[in-house]
């Protein structure tokens, strides 16, 4: 099994997820974070990738018996992910991004100052 590419891919997706959450928290949104479908999509993805990360990268180093033992457990995060994805697809309407307002300071105006 291609453990290394899967491991790198997982790490990249995790980094992207953290970046997304950071941007999400920085933007001044008025609705609750769990009301956004993209949040739940990432939660599903994080649970799936997080729980299977070690299984994937250790796949080539563990015995067949151990793989057969743990293999079934990988279905748990996958089922959770699928349930969340299904809920997102059927449960949420489309949403709009809210852009925070920016305040502009008074510029320098000609002929207004004494000097």
């Amino acid at each position: 099994m291609d453990s290394v590419p899967i491991g790198i891919e997982t790490i990249l997706i995790l980094i992207f997820s953290f970046y997304f959450f950071q941007q999400f928290l920085r933007s001044n949104i008025s609705r609750n974070v769990y009301e956004y479908p993209s949040f739940w999509l990432l939660v599903g993805l994080l649970i799936y990738l997080g729980c299977n990360f070690f299984f994937n990268i250790l796949f080539n180093h563990i015995s067949i018996e151990q793989i057969e033992t743990y293999w079934h457990y990988t279905y748990i995060p996958e089922i959770i992910k699928n349930i969340i994805f299904t809920m997102v697809i059927f449960g949420y309407p489309s949403y709009e991004n809210e852009i925070p307002e920016k305040k502009i300071r008074t510029p320098d105006i000609p002929n207004l100052d004494l000097i």
């Binding site: 959450f21 949104i29 997080g50 729980c51 207004l112 004494l114």
Partner: protein, 275 residues
């Protein structure tokens, strides 16, 4: 890699179990952290919104209070000045006037006429204080120049104004609001600043109308203004804020770079020319 090379088969199981558990805890922890953090930010924003609402209530109260004070002043002017004058004139022109000799009649009529002239002047002054005729007939520029000339004419302070670009007048309501704001600012400067000069300049820049007042006395910076606006004192400043809010305007109090004088800048969007 070192960990993987030195770990036995049973050790891999341990790493797998511990790693998976760790990742699960991290993921759940992250989700809980994000939700809690967002709730905290939301509560903070709600608190700010509540404070803004309280501020608006304060401004509204100040505006109502000022209106009431203005009405009381008007009522007092009419009752205390115009009332007695007209009553005195009535006394001179009583029924017995016809029974008196011609010289007394002429004297009484002359006195009554004098009193009526005074009353007309008084009513005119009250009317002018409510709505300056210069503002209505000739616009903001003339009204402000007139106001500054009057202040300068008193000899106590040097007041001057200069309009750089005011060919197209603002709407009448906007002019009145700006004039009231300038009156309030000038009043504050005269009362509190102890300055030796006041200078007003006007210009238009990037579709916005600007007025700037300079003075060299004691003044306010934006932080002081905002602090006073949120407190229970400073009725005039609250009134300025509520008036400018009506015309989508802003006001900025600052000290000049040279630190020798204060400047107050009023900014509002320029609308269609006055028709």
């Amino acid at each position: 890699m070192f960990l993987l090379q030195t770990t036995s088969s049973s050790g891999y199981s341990f790493v797998l179990l511990l790693g998976t558990l760790g990742m699960l805890v991290l993921t759940v922890g992250l989700i809980i952290f994000i939700i809690l953090h967002q709730k905290r930010v939301k509560r903070f924003n709600e608190k700010i919104q509540d404070m803004e609402k309280a501020q608006q209530r304060l401004l509204l109260n100040a505006s109502i209070k000022l209106q009431e004070e203005e009405r009381q002043r008007l009522a007092a002017d009419l009752h205390d000045d115009a009332g007695p004058l007209l009553a005195t004139a009535r006394l001179y022109l009583n029924e017995n006037l016809v029974n008196q000799d011609k010289a007394t009649q002429l004297q009484s009529i002359f006195q009554a006429r004098q009193i009526i002239d005074d009353t007309i002047q008084l009513v005119r002054n009250i009317s002018h204080s409510l709505m300056p005729p210069t503002l209505k007939n000739f616009g903001l520029e003339s009204a402000i120049n007139d106001l500054f000339q009057k202040i300068s004419g008193s000899g106590t302070i040097n007041a001057s104004s200069r309009f750089h670009e005011y060919k197209d007048r603002l709407k009448e309501e906007k002019e009145l609001i700006i004039f009231r704001v300038v009156q309030e600012l000038i009043n504050n400067i005269l009362k509190h600043s102890n300055s030796s000069f006041i200078h007003l300049t006007q210009n238009v820049h990037a579709g916005k109308f600007y007025l700037r007042i300079h003075h060299d006395g004691r003044g306010l910076v934006q932080a002081d203004f905002e602090k006073l606006n949120k407190s229970n004192v400073g009725l005039g400043l609250k009134n300025i804020t509520s008036r400018l809010r009506v015309v989508d305007g802003n006001i900025n109090f600052e000290k000049d770079i040279s630190q020798t004088y204060y400047k107050v800048t009023i900014e509002l969007p320029k609308d269609e020319p006055y028709e």
